[in-house]
Symmetry: D2
């Protein structure tokens, strides 16, 4: 299955396999450490709200899902009298056996090994399939760091190429980006109305966030923030959107209506970031077409960018161990493959606007 | 299924899909050309004998399977009053629409697109899976040559990486190499006995080849060579091997016995080509262990090498066409990927000898 | 995929296949009739609300989903100037070519052929898999009625046995029944509160139904009933349940809390229908355990029954046509199989109550 | 995979699962008994020759494959100093824990549970799929006999219906029967020639059998019979057939030629067994068409019959255990299903003859 819950179970399963492999290769991992690593991976995504990234930059704004995961683990830890202490250390990277943290969050963590395989299977992008089992069986530890046996190098190269394919063809797919941005604009507009005192349908948990200035929202200072956040799921958002498509506010009605009928905004990639005056004609057409004022129309014309590193050495490198036990960087180990190219960052600018207003003529 | 027949059907299916795609993009392909391309791909491997490469260098020696395929097509052409004329031109590359030949034999031919996908599926090497459908849908023609649309570039990179994985992990797998070399040595020894007048069990077709000095064998001058070759299949070889495992000749008995009981030779990769004197101790041990004379023992100690280009620009390059219609080389189109590394040739030396005699100490 | 939308698409696909088969066997089906049959099957389930049967007996009460489907088709028909007229006739069975209706709703309709295969695949009940393609290829028409060719008889027998397995192992699975009944009790209690004037969180569409005496609700007299019904989906119900788990009313809080935490009621099959006094001790224990009054406690102790015909000849029989063209009933055609047994109705009584109060001692 | 070897491994796997299930339900099975049952199932089919049934009634004639399996087990037992003693007892049914034998050969043995699932998967007959895992999990033992828990009854009914489907649609498929009979006729004719002193190409092992009057062949008296039988596999037969298609004997050439080119005999089912004079016109036509004498022509006109019990209570019944532990016959347990019909034997007569001579007009 292809749900967040199944992903957690899948990553947990891979963690067990990885620990088993490392133990067979002679590395000591105590039962407590094994439990800690498994808890850390089971909970690593628990801080994700509904539509994770969309919500992270609208309903809440100064807190990442990793921080929220950590806050939830701490609550659980208190409730369970410290039973999660080691898991938290493994999760944050403060535990002394560093490779355990690398299995949770690193270049070859079991999180990626699970989601790349799961997502490529369920989206039908067969090129994205990776050799999860083989990669895990090639893992080893040297100087407290995860390394990969030299004969697994083809699988690692395939993993990096597949990951890049998944980014550009799935995670940053045009339709996906377009839906995400329209959702963000809708939530931001609903919050604006709520802050201005207008009635906006919402479940109690969603209402709590819509009525707050979330830039100033501090999860640590306000324990009820976490309670309300934990109540939120996709249903709260979907239901609200559906109801909002009949809201008296014209712009909210348009946005929510487009979302619930899957009439997404057009997305157009641009050679460079557009200047404000470039967009003026678009905004004017939106004003006319939808009978909106200028401020409202600007909420339907969105300029943004995405960028992606497939293999960013600043976030840690992949290390290869040859038969003699020597450890070298992937870059040097791979004779027929260049990871340097994968390390370069690529940024793409794009523009979103209603399909009704005709095509934007880019330069 | 995973048979040579199914591969022919699969490649034929992909040819139909490729032609359909090109026609939809406005390229004219007449019904006759379509038939010719389909016949060419259906028959492209018909010259393969049983255990193709093993047989090509033992039972016959100066004729490649492509040449035999061509000889068979010519016979069929004669029998069918010239109906295969265009197919033969497409197969040999003499037809004026060059891209048709590239679909049969080129960097992105439907032969590879079928066998890579089929083999990766049936061997369970999930990293070898390629996006066959997607690649085909991205094909186009410019200046009479196959090109790939720019948005298919990730699939092409994945195709090259996957192909390399399949070479090293499947086609040139140690066990596979070991079996192939033992089979070749066995057939060579059986032929030596047959040439010396000894009785060696064989079907009439196999006997025809065992009794000939195949170095001098000319398929064009001897029409019955092709008749006999067409009679040969895996059964002729398997059956003979089984019977030979009880042959009076000690060495043939050992070789055939090892083959039928899957007791293959040990295969050991070496840093460089071994010199003749390096192997003397091995040969002596084989002599003692198996009670053979020196000449015989040398047939059980084999030194050989393999090499592989994943992407050899001398065999034609992959061309990418961007949105504006301009065509550039893959190397220049791919920002995050280096095909130069893939183009380098890699040669590996290895040594084969019976497991009974202990490990060869390499330098 | 395993959604209601995919089921509609799947049944539509099978309808196309069935029509193609019948045409190949010489039966005339005009393009208009084909369109009508396809529309009828695409829309056959459109009247299902969220959690169909649960909602049908709580939120609305005197209207089946088939009637609502028909009301929706009529609205669409009006909006489309009569384009759906023939589709409606095929759906209701008033069209003169009766076999078209049998393909939409009959012993071997494409609805069943799709959902049995889909559900058995996705629930992993491999015994429930049926030979959909084979059954369709065996369909024919005699005297305006669907018949099955004699050589398809084993597939029909397998279809009936598989269908029975799916009923008892999936559709009427204990956990499924338990969840459905708890949902019904929760909705009934929420409606009771709403009718009594208490504030009960709901989307506008759900609120419309919760505030009505639905026994008297007449969809034909109140056009807005259909508008509101069409707005309802699973999200309205799920979201409300989640919010209700914090409702001031103790019983609603308990019910909704159990549902959202999947703490279902215990389900226990009984040899006969229990009498009211049999249940008094249970009700008392529920009162004590949950601090409820007697009326409330009775809502947590539910007695009900299910029954199932696998093959009810009163709903039409399956007819077999032998090679000579003669048509006989399945019962007579099948030498090694008795459909009479499948035609008998089986009724099972069961009881639901909270797991906290210990096991009910049945007789 | 779909080979005899994989079937043995599959049945062995199911045996392990069945033993595990029975142990969990409290039945004592010692490690020695477990080993014995596993050996018995691994070797249960070892006596099958190539094309099992075809060979059993031609090359050898008075020995079943079960007897040959037993002979081989005894040889292995001698070679292994009695290690297979218990396995042989379990295989023959003389071991005191009778249910172990029932797992190897009985109405619900793991042999059937494996081959029905494997064959239905690989032939694409989806109706033949059975719930192997579920059936095994429902197994129990009462009074030393295998029983099935009552809640598994639907799976058992499905198993019986599926088995019948597989018999009529796969194992006794017309094309399969036709190929098998042509193979038998070919082998019988080749043996006739060999017995008459003609040279007939064959491997040494096949030659041993072709030259014997196998009616009188006694495996126990002639130990070399078993040695030669063990050497035979599909390759011996296929290779000989291919060579025979160029044999000087006209009839052998016709038969072997038809086999190797898959030009099978026509198969026609008849309402009753044909009389000898019914076939005279066919035989005459064959004589003329193929220039054969009468004796030869009769070998190409074959009359035969097949019959099948799906559930033959004389071979043991399936017993159902209800919740209270009482054991009843399947027939009585199954309220909606009649096994009596499945118990009736069905016999079908059929006729085989070359397609070249036109259709036989049956009565």
């Amino acid at each position: 299955m292809h749900t967040r819950f199944q992903h957690a179970i899948g990553a947990f399963h891979l963690m067990m396999r990885a620990i088993e492999t490392l133990r067979l290769k002679g590395h000591s991992i105590t039962p407590e450490e094994c439990e800690a690593a498994c808890i850390a991976i089971l909970l690593h995504d628990i801080g994700h709200g509904p539509f994770s990234h969309a919500l992270e930059s609208t309903i809440i704004q100064n807190t990442s899902h990793e921080e929220i995961s950590l806050l939830m683990m701490r609550r659980l830890n208190t409730a369970m009298n410290g039973r999660l202490q080691t898991a938290i250390e493994v999760f944050t990277g403060s535990y002394h056996k560093r490779f355990l943290h690398q299995l949770v969050a690193g270049q070859l963590d079991v999180d990626r090994l699970d989601y790349l395989k799961r997502d490529s299977f369920f989206t039908g992008v067969s090129e994205g399939v990776i050799g999860t089992e083989r990669i895990i069986s090639m893992l080893d530890v040297r100087d407290d760091e995860l390394v990969v046996e030299a004969k697994g190098i083809y699988s690692i190269e395939n993993f990096l190429v597949s990951r890049r394919i998944m980014y550009w063809q799935v995670y940053l797919h045009k339709t996906s980006l377009s839906a995400e941005y329209l959702l963000m604009q809708t939530l931001l507009h609903a919050r604006k109305l709520a802050m201005a005192g207008q009635e906006v349908f919402a479940t109690p948990a969603l209402a709590w966030f819509l009525g707050k200035n979330t830039k100033a929202l501090d999860f640590e200072a306000h324990p009820e923030a976490l309670d309300n956040f934990a109540q939120l799921d996709d249903f709260d958002i979907f239901t609200a959107i559906k109801v909002w498509s009949n809201h008296p506010d014209r712009l909210l009605r348009i946005m929510a209506g487009k979302l619930s009928k899957r009439k997404l905004l057009r997305i157009q990639f641009l050679a460079r970031k557009p200047k404000k005056q470039d967009l003026q004609p678009l905004v004017r057409k939106v004003q006319e077409t939808f009978s909106l004022n200028q401020t409202e129309a600007q909420e339907l014309v969105v300029s943004a960018k995405i960028s992606n590193h497939t293999y960013d050495p600043r976030q840690g490198t992949i290390k290869i161990m040859n038969k003699s036990g020597a450890v070298i960087e992937l870059d040097q180990a791979s004779k027929e493959f260049s990871t340097r190219a994968l390390a370069r960052s690529h940024t793409k600018h794009f523009l979103l606007y209603p399909k009704e207003i005709g095509r934007f003529e880019a330069w």
